[in-house]
Symmetry: C2
Subunit: 445 residues, 2 copies
């Protein structure tokens, strides 16, 4: 893997899953491995699983790079991503892992991403306030409207509001500063083409939550100068391990197996416990993946099962001070994965001579060392309490790690859905509220 | 209630709790009502319940106002709150409800709150970057270190790092710009007094998660000019309803009763579904309250029970696009409260003439109207699916509503803990990981 480092995964001593039980689960995946092997080569994206091919797809990467070449020049200050759920979480997760929440660590002079997801006047106001203060001409701004179906009410509404406002201020050349990412041939696609907006397509069989490595996730990142080639390389490099028949090499399969074995014993909640606060949105991304892929009323034989595991995102050490009493003392229906990138610059340190001398042990310690001690202490305490957990150490908060992590999670959820006997790729129960909402909207008139 | 408006609570038709069942639960609370009535008058804070007296405590309010008078003058730009869990969530919840995440809507020229909670070098860097850019002398900054026990590793470490950095830049007069909030007589209290830092105390019997209306929550808000008098008035005004023997007038008791009845039938998760994204931290605050107060290994008779309900915070409409498939289709172990303040300025509207004409029904509609339709649609869909829920409508995103909401939640959790037979006021299972972490820290040397 060149100079890039691999993720480190550990679970055998702590997941409280007898090797025999896990082995008997994993061995039944042989046939499904063939499906995944086919999907890996499926450049025509004929099935749900085919999203694992995306990091290998040079056509998509090239289309994204071409669009960047056509839209990004030196003066660019903001790329506004208008999208919700699978249309923004992937890009946002990577962006925040690299640059912090709200891009707090974006190097000065580099373009920033702004995100408009829900239809909240306050959210819109915050974005607009930033744009008003800093954007004077169209070259400084780029709008990326992302909606797979093209019918996402919040996203289309946010786009209409923002476009009208910016056009009023910056003029009709704004038309050239819009990139619409949607299914080719969707109503939005046609509307975009009619307005001569630029368009990027996504493979129709790839669902929103699986679309990180398509133009959906790649374009916004590339537009602000993030190295998507290395992101994709991370995803490609971890793929053989995710296909390995040796469960000890295959994190995706092992993790799914652990969750499955516990699920059969009553597991309700999967706690993704991140010890880098900037990974919170990465947790939101994988939470969608789990919630929508295995939260199912019916199994793949049509039987009503109400399957599902609630994905939870905890942040160390913040949530130790608000939720851990419940984790340690409460119902034992939770499996945890601790995720930690210990090597984070900068190495800010507590001074060697402290003022408040009553607290021992912190003088001269870097903040990351304090976090490390909390991380270690929590793991020890989980073991003592008999709470099952897995561990994933990221070598760095960089694109290569993110690529590995996200591709691994895509495999993991496919394995888990297969074990549980549910269709990972549909979301049949979300249409109803949308229908009701549309009726209420139309009743306003 | 003067010109201020009351919260509106609804549940009878949607909580799927037979009135008889609920009634039989509530009637058993008579004795506990006497305890609460005593607590309400308990200006010496002799028991856990006495936190309900805080909004009536003029001594505390005056101490806070006096400290504001002593520390805040026109040039103040930033108040940095160093605290974690119960030491920052309350103030942060109110601040963000009023001004948005990261204070995005703080009026220009008004001071801002910055929060340092966990020991993360990136979090510290983001705060320090802001201070470096905008703070040139000590009058522009105020540090409020908050730790009930005084021994919170992350908070003391963050304080040491920040204090050293600012002192180096701004000089020794920084000493006058520190307010330490802690238990009187704690080791931190003594260290603070030795350094002639200013101090604010909190009642010893009031736990961190119950301390919102003490100096812990009030001082940071008052220091940036937020009207704590009206916040406290909101809390006081809702108190009689929270003591009412008529369950239809008593939201706190009714909500606790609904949760209790469902808990006895297998409830695992309490979903607090906010349709104003800026209330996310309010959800984090009440989540701590629930997790630590009823997540208990042992009941109040010492028997091992592993009691607890997992508090979840969902944000409308964001999480509809990532988690609602699980809510609608997955395991039926969840009760939801929808919380919504529909009347939010500004009234940004979709233009009457839209560009993307394929999506019907949005032209001319304000963004808040779109959110309202989604809110209504989700409620209808929950009813159709037979998913139990309650509803709480906030008249506005203002301090008066926040005061009502938070005091109501304090009562609610005390009722619920009493029904479940657990001690709401301890957190016996969080010491172990702290001990382990301290050992690891000391082993570094």
């Amino acid at each position: 893997m060149d100079r890039h480092k691999a993720l480190v995964f550990a679970y055998t001593k702590t997941a409280l899953t007898p090797p025999k039980e896990l082995g008997s689960v994993v061995i039944r995946l042989k046939k499904y491995s063939n499906t995944l092997r086919d999907a890996l080569e499926d450049s025509r994206y004929t099935r749900g699983e085919s999203s694992v091919h995306l990091p290998f797809d040079k056509t998509i990467a090239r289309a994204v790079e071409d669009m960047v070449a056509a839209t990004v020049s030196r003066g660019l200050k903001y790329v506004i991503v208008i999208g919700i759920g699978g249309s923004n979480l992937g890009a946002r997760a990577v962006y925040e892992a690299l640059y912090g929440k709200n891009g707090a660590r974006v190097p000065l002079g580099k373009p920033q991403l702004l995100f408009l997801d829900t239809a909240d006047p306050h959210l819109y106001e915050a974005v607009n306030r930033e744009l008003k203060a800093h954007v004077k001409h169209t070259g400084e701004v780029l709008i990326n409207l992302i909606s797979k179906s093209g019918n996402t009410t919040e996203s289309v509404a946010n786009f209409e509001v923002l476009y009208a406002e910016l056009k009023r201020r910056l003029g009709t050349a704004l038309r050239n500063r819009v990139v619409v990412t949607t299914d080719e041939g969707s109503a939005l696609w046609n509307a975009a083409q009619a307005h001569r907006f630029k368009t990027l397509s996504m493979p129709r069989q790839v669902g929103g939550r699986f679309s990180m490595f398509s133009a959906v996730g790649l374009f916004p990142l590339a537009a602000v100068g993030i190295d998507i080639a290395t992101l994709l390389k991370g995803a490609r490099d971890i793929t053989p391990a995710c296909m390995s028949a040796d469960v000890h090499k295959n994190f995706a399969c092992a993790s799914a197996g652990v969750l499955y074995v516990h699920r059969r014993k009553g597991l309700r909640t999967y706690n993704q416990f991140f010890f880098n606060p900037d990974l919170e949105t990465l947790g939101a991304w994988s939470s969608q993946l789990m919630a929508e892929s295995i939260g199912k009323e019916r199994n793949d034989k049509g039987k009503i099962v109400h399957e599902g595991i609630l994905p939870l995102v905890s942040i160390g050490s913040t949530h130790l001070h608000s939720l851990s009493q419940l984790y340690f003392g409460g119902p034992r229906l939770m499996v945890t994965t601790f995720i930690y990138a210990p090597n984070t610059a900068p190495s800010t340190r507590v001074p060697r001579t402290v003022i408040l001398k009553h607290l021992k042990g912190i003088a001269g310690v870097p903040l990351s060392g304090i976090m490390g001690a909390l991380y270690g202490g929590v793991k020890r305490s989980y073991q003592k309490h008999g709470l099952p957990f897995m561990e994933l150490v990221l070598p760095a908060l960089d694109v290569y790690s993110m690529g590995q992590y996200m591709q691994m999670k895509l495999f993991e959820i496919m394995y888990l859905a297969h074990m549980l006997g549910v269709n990972a790729f549909d979301q049949p129960n979300v249409e109803d509220y949308k229908q009701e909402s549309r009726q209420l909207l139309q009743a306003r008139r």
